[in-house]
């Protein structure tokens, strides 16, 4: 039986993974708020609308000794994948932020608030945000402040502002700090005229200045501030104004990247394109994966195709933020069960956080029944100097079956990669690629794309 390592912070309860079941204890610290939430009607309406994960109260015996102190044990359905805010593209983080604010607003109408604003409490089913922490809800105390404001700004607002104001992606910074971007940090890099914009002044500049000023004289001012009452209308107005502002945030980087227009500009002939589509369609129809990972998903063209061919859920990974923006738009517009995530495959998310166990590595969360890696291998093998054997090993570890495309050195894209550097990749050949695959898996089918000599291989690890 395992305590989920990321759930240690809350005295109100803990999460356990037992034989594939997800169980949550509610301790005596959290029981009154949980019961208030349950009887408020909020819980039911949120779960019915698919805004928070469902839960069922189960017999405490299923947790054994771990449930001795617990007042309740809840069982949640297992989610298709757990992802972290440092893996979310801009639009995904933004939709999580809006979902959090909407949840706050609607709960407050029933005198329920969220005690924190951790972005890790939001997960995704397709592109639909889902709140997962029951124990963050508690009863509203009239006149109280928004306790999660600081955390909301750090974990949602400020990372979004990095891209909206400066065209910088939040992912690397977020993964480093894990708690997002503080007001003091963001305030330091704002230009003076940005600091005068009302919303930035209110949610970034002033909190940063007050925080710093309080290091010299915290006591009296803080005491005075704590004695004041925040009218509920002001609380709601704060949430509403933040929501409107965040909804209007757009990435600042407008210049197209290499991959954002890949769909329209890639160098396949129509014939090869339809042959490739047919190959993927056959593979998916035959294997019917519950979860398919699309590595190097780009704008999600083949993810969509796989969903059409019978994959239940697709998680797509790409390094290009603009391609991910397009992929997200595709998923939302067409109602796909497709989650696009940011991934630098040469540096995937590690085990990290407290004791190196709070947030799990991508590999530990691997849950794919199948994968597709189209025009992907050469980015690692040539673009990042990862030996071909290791790239193949890594892919085979991620999923028991899949389709991998091999792009030869004669391909214009690979030639371009090699144009300015010495070719130190004598092993990067189709023969070696096939040899490596065959030594670890069975090749079910393969297909040569005529025009550019690319090869599609369907493997199965038995």
């Amino acid at each position: 039986m395992g305590v989920v390592a990321g759930s240690f912070r809350d005295p109100a309860g803990q999460v356990y993974a037992v034989d594939g079941r997800i169980l949550r204890t509610v301790s005596r610290f959290g029981v009154e708020d949980y019961e208030a939430l349950r009887s408020s009607g909020v819980l039911q309406s949120f779960t019915e609308a698919g805004r928070i994960v469902s839960a069922e109260e189960v017999d405490k015996a299923c947790l054994g000794a771990a449930a001795r102190e617990a007042c309740y044990v809840l069982e949640h359905p297992r989610l298709p994948i757990i992802s972290y805010p440092y893996e979310w593209p801009f639009e995904v983080l933004k939709s999580a932020a809006l979902a959090h604010l909407d949840l706050q607003r609607d709960a407050l109408e029933h005198d329920i608030v969220l005690s924190d604003a951790s972005a890790y409490n939001v997960q995704f089913r397709g592109t639909a945000p889902l709140f997962i922490d029951y124990l963050s809800f508690r009863r509203y105390r009239p006149g109280e402040y928004w306790q999660g404001h600081r955390q909301f700004c750090e974990q949602f607002l400020n990372p979004l502002l990095l891209r909206a104001l400066f065209g910088l992606n939040h992912n690397a910074w977020y993964r480093g700090s894990q708690e997002g971007v503080t007001a003091v940090e963001l305030s330091r890099i704002l230009k003076w005229h940005q600091k005068l914009r009302p919303f930035l002044l209110m949610h970034v500049v002033l909190p940063a200045r007050f925080q710093l000023a309080a290091t010299r004289d915290a006591g009296a001012k803080l005491q005075k501030a704590k004695q004041r009452q925040m009218p509920k209308s002001a609380y709601l107005a704060m949430l509403g104004q933040l929501r409107d502002w965040i909804e209007g945030l757009r990435p600042r980087d407008k210049a197209p990247t290499v991959w954002s227009h890949y769909d329209h500009e890639h160098n396949y002939t129509d014939l090869d394109h339809s042959a490739k589509s047919a190959f993927i369609r056959n593979f998916v129809a035959a294997t019917k994966p519950g979860m398919l990972w699309d590595l190097g998903c780009n704008t999600g063209e083949y993810s969509e195709l796989a969903l059409g061919a019978g994959a239940q859920t697709v998680v797509g990974f790409d390094i290009d933020q603009q391609a991910l923006d397009h992929a997200y738009r595709r998923a939302v517009d067409r109602g796909l069960s497709f989650t696009p995530l940011y991934l630098d495959a040469a540096n995937p998310s590690p085990d990290q956080g407290w004791d190196g166990a709070e947030r799990r590595s991508l590999k530990a969360r691997a849950c794919a029944d199948a994968l597709i890696a189209l025009a992907f291998v050469h980015h690692l093998a040539i673009g990042r100097n990862v030996p071909l054997a290791q790239v193949i090993r890594w892919l085979l570890d991620l999923a028991p079956q899949g389709v991998i495309e091999f792009v030869p050195k004669t391909d214009p894209q690979v030639s371009r990669m090699l144009a300015l550097r010495e070719d130190i990749f004598p092993d990067y050949t189709e023969e070696r690629f096939l040899g490596l695959l065959q030594s670890q898996a069975r090749i079910v089918e393969q297909k040569r794309l005529v025009a550019d000599g690319r090869l599609l291989v369907w493997y199965r690890r038995d």
Binding site: K195, L196, V205, R209, Q211, L212, A225, P231, A234
Partner: protein, 77 residues
């Protein structure tokens, strides 16, 4: 009287400068102080609104007395 240019530069200098942060302080202090400010403003606004209403009622009451009209006539205004 300070020149507007000088005032502008001072404001810019104040907001452009971010001093060092120190430990031993709850990271939410800045947010609480901000919300204290908002709560103060909201409270002040409610106070003003309340007195404004009272003032309006008083003026309305006086004008009613002068015209000799009753409450019904007021409602139809």
């Amino acid at each position: 009287m300070p020149r507007p240019g000088l005032l502008f530069c001072t404001v810019v200098a104040i907001f452009s400068y971010t001093p060092e942060a120190f430990a031993y302080l709850d990271p939410g202090t800045g947010s609480i102080l901000l919300q204290g400010l908002i709560a103060g403003l909201a409270g002040g606004l409610m106070f003003i609104r309340m007195y404004w209403k009272k003032l309006k009622a008083m003026i309305a009451g006086r004008s009613r007395d002068e015209t000799g009209l009753g409450g019904d006539a007021q409602d139809k205004e």
